[in-house]
Amino acid sequence: MTTQTEYRSQLHHRQKELMVKWYERLNEAAETGEPPTVSMMISGNCVELLEGFSAVPIYPEVNALQLAIRHQSLEPILLAEELGYAADNCAYVKADIGAYLRGITPTGGKLPKPTLVLCNFVGCNTYLKWFEHVAEFTGAPLYTLDVPFMRYDEPTHADIEYVVKQLKELIKRLEDLTGRKFDYDRFKEAVRCSSEVENLWSRIKHLAKHSPSPFDAYFDAITLMGPLYVYRAKPEGVEFFEIALKELQEKVLNERDDGEREQFRVVIEGPPPYPHFRTFRDMFAKWNATAVASTYSTVGGLWEFGARHDPSTPFESVARHMLEHNVTNRNYLQRYDQIKKYVEDWNADGVIIHFVKSCRLFSAGQGDMRDYFTKTLGIPTLYIESDLEDPRYFSEAQLKNRIDAYFEALEHQKLSHRGIEERRN
């Protein structure tokens, strides 16, 4: 029985190179004051606009998760708790603030004081607080770009107009702060790059419809997400996702379905426990279970259902991206629909709901979600709890028991279905 899933290829090397290059740029900014940098939230970001200033994004979430995955998150979390953060505050925030105050960075390089702290609030209330705190502790200016939450299935005309007006205010603000003039053509080109990357990423997501899937749309998707956030609006991003698509397409062609490598196909909801990433992944690998889709991989953008940036209406399309094309600004029932579509169209056996203590945006109400999937739709659903950043909230034995019990039941169900089929034939 397989206990670990592992593959290293060109895309992994390229991913590493790109991320290292990004941190080098940030280090350069810290040392020389150039290029300008903007702190942003991953979900619903407007990185295309930054291209118009040749500015580089800082993503506090990426810093936080890098610390967690390298087992370095506890020290900054404890420091933040000494400052007054509560045990029940989002641990991403605590790790980020604690690391800033202690001068810890994921690579050991320097992180700059941001030119602007841009709170592109999309559904995450915690972000409003987090970025106020970043502004307070770093002394950098703050602009809160308020993105109306998706009360309905579609954004209203007023929603789009409101976001576009703020994007234009933001340009003015960045012009004042950087002394640079906004380069509209470069912005438009960035929007075009994004639409290409989105197209490639969407095609990659759809490859998971194959059985066996050439990649895990939860655990492996995370490798692809770094470049997605940092390089979406750049030619390097297009190039990276071309490599990724090609490699995964080849995998589909070259791999025969022996029925062994992929015994179960699941959809995973919620962020992963980064401090115990490998241990958690192996709990699924043990059962040859593959995530064929995940909501977490749509934090940066939800494109597998056709939405794209559009260079012919760059401002409006950035606004639409912020409003409706990322999972965190979409309402809870839209998320139910998203998962339901994954189960149906990606042909999944069940749903795994991973409740993370830190993130109420993801987790508040997941009991109702479980009720919907098990009782209303009759889909085998597992509900487990831990945290995305705080290593203290991870009960390995309990998680393992629950995951084992879930797959045992699924296996039993599959075997008895097969038995019935065979008797019928």
Binding site: T144, D146, C359
Partner: protein, 401 residues
């Protein structure tokens, strides 16, 4: 310092419990009434009229009122309801009010309401709105996005469109059209109500020995359940009654309470704080109905006036985000204005916005040398011994310093 002296018993009469009213029993009785008797009575008296329950905090009561409806502030269920269903829906690490509100829905306590209104207060409450939508598909459930960027000129226009959307939905629900005249009239009524509330707050600040916060709290919180016209009468009677009161000063510290803008602490906890020697000279209890620092204009477009008041004249709390005047600065201003000896940060368990704000509040209070105490509560708690000890120790440390 002198020993603590007890308040004269002759002056213990409640501010409002003796006041007769068409619909209201005493204010303290209204608060825990999960049958919403006052709402049911109002509906009996106004056949066909609708009642809208709103989750804290900032709801545009004037718009609901001007549509001929009764806005009712939902404040959880206190310790009146055992949670049977909501825990399974909302799991661990979620505050009480989110769970008790859902529990009230699932146990049919919210049947007097024809609609439920939520807004952008926090992630849990927002998800709650959509869980309500799924579990009560027949119910009108609406969600308002209240803007977080008041520094943008576009935010007032956006909020107007949001209010207009609510208006349209309410008109459809109630079958009557809202007019500017009716809205201006409603704004006047709420302005008067808020003016009286501010007056009572100022009176308490000036003479805390004349008015207990537990009384004032019950009086203000009853406003969540009563028609504004009725509630304003009660406030007026309370203001009129004040000069007839006499009370002896006692050795107490002057305290500002911060952090209870959404889930409400049990009344008994407020009483304990007072017994322990706190003159509460300002607080953010039941923030909702008194959310503006000044009158909303009635000259001009009333929707614009309401939207502008939210963006530019809101009483600060953990919910609106206005970096032009950060709330940790405003807390210090408030404490100075009220000549407070200390600030008590009274936070509902699992209230993430309040937890976050605590960090900057604490930092700023320490910078300014203002003593502070953090206390956590849950609306459903009914034993207070640990908190009593904490508060007594804190008060004594300041009184006998």
């Amino acid at each position: 310092m002198e020993k603590l002296t007890e308040r004269q018993n002759s002056n213990e009469s409640s501010l409002s419990s003796s006041v007769p009213s068409v619909v209201s029993p005493s204010c303290e009785d209204v608060i825990p009434d999960l049958n919403f008797t006052t709402v049911r009575k109002w509906k009996d008296q106004h056949p066909g009229a609708k009642a809208i329950g709103y989750f804290p905090v900032y709801a545009p009561l004037e718009i609901i009122h001007a549509c001929g409806m009764l806005p009712v502030g939902l404040n959880g269920a206190g310790d009146q309801l055992d949670i049977q269903y909501a825990d399974a829906r909302f799991g661990s690490f979620i505050c009480s009010i989110v769970k008790t509100t859902l529990e009230m829905g699932m146990t049919k306590h919210l049947t007097p309401f024809d609609g439920l209104l939520f807004s952008t207060i926090c992630d849990s409450a927002r998800n709650l709105a959509f869980v309500f939508k799924r579990n009560f598909p027949e119910q009108y459930v609406d969600f308002l996005h209240l803007p977080h960027n008041p520094s943008s000129e576009a935010s007032v226009d956006f909020l107007m469109s949001e209010y207009a959307r609510l208006q349209e939905n309410l008109e459809q629900l109630g079958g009557t059209k809202l007019t500017d005249a009716a809205l201006n009239e409603s704004i006047e009524l709420y302005n008067e109500n808020r003016r009286l509330t501010r007056r009572l707050y100022d009176e308490r600040d000036g003479n805390p020995q004349l008015m207990r916060t537990s009384e004032l709290y019950a009086l203000i919180r009853a406003g969540n359940f009563l028609p504004v016209e009725e509630h304003t009468k009660l406030l007026k009677q309370a203001v009129d009654e004040l000069p007839t009161r006499a009370g002896k000063q006692r050795d107490s510290i002057r305290v500002v309470i911060e952090g209870s803008f959404c889930e409400q602490p049990p009344v008994d906890l407020i009483k304990i704080m007072e017994e322990a020697g706190c003159y509460i000279v300002d607080d953010d209890f039941v923030l909702g109905p008194r959310w503006f620092t000044k009158d909303v204009s009635v000259n001009g477009n009333p929707m614009r006036a309401l939207a502008d008041a939210y963006s530019n004249a809101s009483v600060y709390s953990s919910m609106p985000h206005d970096w032009r005047n950060p709330r940790h600065k405003q807390l210090i201003e408030k404490a100075r204005r009220r000549k407070a000896d200390a600030v008590i940060l009274l936070i509902a368990k699992f209230c993430e916005p309040a937890y976050f704000d605590y960090v900057l509040f604490k930092q700023e209070l320490e910078k300014e040398g203002i003593p502070h105490l953090l206390m956590e509560f849950e609306e459903k708690m009914f034993t207070f011994e640990r908190l009593r000890t904490e508060i007594e120790t804190f008060v004594e440390s300041l009184l006998f310093d």
